[in-house]
């Protein structure tokens, strides 16, 4: 039997449903030393901003039980450097590129998307409306995220939708009471897919110094610890919207990836676990193929949302 792993996001066809989570794969150069990164369904790059950003003051990382907190603060080279120095490598490798973007206003998102489309910098755009690490946790501890307001999500999505024909993905935050609301807004705003989920807000304290372990006080929790939460949100959203869901949050193995697909994700992303095992995306692609063979599934799309609820 031939197994097709091909899926599509908007009009973009991907050879398999496996990508990497923004911010855990740089711009592809480093892990290209470990495997042929063109084998990925897509490469999702670190969030880009208009100007380069230095990010937050370190320490930026704390290990937690079965996970980690990060407060990178969107350190990135900026769109100019990306287009000039990072993009050629990805193009040469023949990667499908999902460019994740972050702006501090609607205009910035629009500008980023326009420039990416014009200069061929992306095959799809992922709007990061849910980064927990760019606000100063001390002064405004409510850290309002765009993704926490369904209204804003629709506005932001609509604005970018209006100026680009590129497939548009909106990345949402788990720090909400009901993630189906912003997901619906993203759909209404014209998104071709939603990414579920970004990190959960979290914190850790060094009891000897009584200082937060992250200099930024608060960070985003990722890794297998959050997998059950992510999976539940993917299930909720995929029953609510008609557009594809890209599932992520603690995926470490083919079995984890299958949980997300069965719950309703059309595509999945591996994030923090890359740090443990850079080869995990390849293992997952192979594992999905094996599972389909064993279970007599000729098209991975048939698996999507096939969870049996009694």
């Amino acid at each position: 039997m031939d197994v097709s792993l091909q899926i599509s996001i908007g009009k973009l066809i991907l050879k398999n449903p496996v990508t990497v989570a923004s911010g855990t794969f740089g711009y592809g150069e480093e892990y290209a030393e470990y495997f042929d990164i063109s084998e990925l369904g897509a490469v999702t790059i670190k969030s880009l901003t208009l100007k380069p950003r230095l990010g937050n003051v370190p320490p930026r990382i704390v290990e937690t039980p079965a996970g980690m907190l990060n407060a990178i603060g969107l350190q990135n080279v900026g769109i100019e450097t990306y287009l000039k120095y990072k993009l050629p490598f990805l193009r040469e490798k023949k990667c499908t590129i999902i460019a994740n973007i972050y702006g501090t206003s609607i205009e910035e998102y629009v500008q980023l998307a326009e420039q990416l489309e014009k200069e061929g910098g992306a095959d799809a755009i992922e709007m990061n409306l849910s980064c927990p690490n760019v606000h100063d946790a001390k002064s405004k501890f409510k850290c309002p995220l765009i993704a926490q307001s369904p209204e804003w999500v629709e506005k932001y999505t609509y604005a970018v939708r209006s100026i680009t024909k590129l497939p548009l993905i909106v990345k949402l935050s788990p720090n909400v009471a009901d993630i189906t609301e912003p997901a619906l807004s993203a759909e209404k705003g014209g998104a071709d897919a939603v990414s579920i989920i970004n990190t959960l807000l979290g914190m850790a304290i060094d009891v000897n110094t009584r200082k937060p372990k992250l200099r930024n006080v608060v960070g985003g929790l990722s890794g297998p610890a959050i997998r059950p939460v992510a999976l539940k949100m993917v299930w909720d959203v995929s029953r609510t919207v008609k557009i594809p869901v890209i599932g992520m949050g603690g995926i470490c193995s083919a079995s984890d990836a299958l949980e997300f697909l069965i719950a309703g994700a059309r595509m999945i992303a591996v994030g923090s676990y890359l740090f443990r095992d850079p080869l995990v995306p390849m293992r997952i692609i192979q594992g999905l193929r094996d599972y389909c063979l064993t279970h007599n599934i000729d098209d991975i799309n048939k698996l999507v949302g096939s969870v049996i609820v009694e």
Binding site: G23, T24, F25, G26, E30, Y31, E33, Y34, K46, L54, G55, V57, P58, P59, R60, I61, V62, E63, T64, P65, A66, G67, M68, N70, I72, Q75, G223, P224, A225, C252, S272, L274, F275, R276, D277, P278, L279
Partner: protein, 266 residues
């Protein structure tokens, strides 16, 4: 070059209270390693601990490398329970290595505590490529914290022992000794140890006009430059402040590029 290796543990000794030496057998790893580089060890197969642990390469053999480590938390505790004959997944070699520029008659090493770890390999390399045995300041809290003395002696190094409690060698800090050393001709200092020590070594080197390379540490997730977790503020290109990745631009830095004022006392 493959960077993920299943290594056989061929030696695992307690070398001092809470300190162990482990030899990781793997030819591929050995061949590509240089002094100053590090490896990331998978200390458990489960999710606890979740991340790998970074360790400097202590010595490079024909078919493997050794590491020298101190048990301080959960990860190193688990590491210490592994037995000879078991396998461990090792990622590396990672990071840059110690530069050994020509034309320096004096190589000086300042090692504090477990910070001695990357230096046996460096001494061997300096001997090999320059034929000059470096001078070494070996500092620690007490006698038990002075590691590798014998190895350095065998390599023909002049050694200054320093302990905080005076239980071996001179009593005081590494920097007390460093200040008293006067060399003739160009001098390079290599240092590794607690951050306050490194800062002070840097200051002394600036005063004396010596070039100083430090092996720095930071909390690491990926070890490969993708997570941007391990950065330090630095000024590596002209007029351009940046966040340098300890795992990629480092772990070895010319101490003049680090913006020490912005690091604080973590």
């Amino acid at each position: 070059m493959k960077k993920l290796h299943e290594c056989l543990i061929t030696l695992h000794n307690l070398v001092a209270p809470h300190h162990y030496r482990m030899v990781l057998q793997n030819k591929d790893l050995a061949i590509h390693s240089s002094p100053g580089q590090f490896v990331m060890l998978e200390v458990s197969t489960g999710y606890y601990p979740f991340l790998r642990r970074p360790m400097s390469i202590e010595r490079i053999f024909s078919d493997g490398v050794s590491i020298l480590y101190k048990v301080c938390g959960e990860g190193t505790k688990i590491l210490s329970t592994l037995s000879v004959g078991e396998k461990i997944n090792v990622q590396g070699p990672l990071g840059n290595s110690f530069p050994i520029p020509e034309g320096y008659p004096h190589y000086l090493i300042v090692a504090g505590g477990i910070g001695v770890a990357p230096f046996p390999a460096l001494v061997e390399k300096i001997l090999k490529v320059r034929g000059i045995p470096p001078e070494i300041i070996l500092a620690g809290k007490d006698y038990n914290h002075l590691l590798c003395e014998k190895d350095f002696k065998q390599m023909g190094c002049k050694i200054h022992l320093v302990t905080e409690d005076g239980s071996a060698g001179q009593s005081g800090l590494a920097t007390d000794v460093l200040e008293t050393i006067n060399t003739q001709g160009e001098t390079i200092v290599y240092t590794c140890g607690p951050l306050p020590m490194i800062k002070n070594v840097h200051k002394i080197c600036v005063q004396k006009g010596w070039l100083c390379y430090a092996s720095l540490e930071a909390e690491m997730a990926c070890g490969e430059g993708v997570c941007l977790g391990c950065v330090l503020p630095a000024k590596m290109e002209i007029e351009n402040e940046m966040m340098a990745r300890v795992c990629k631009e480092g772990p070895i830095f010319d101490t003049q590029v680090i913006l020490w004022d912005k690091i604080g006392d973590r």
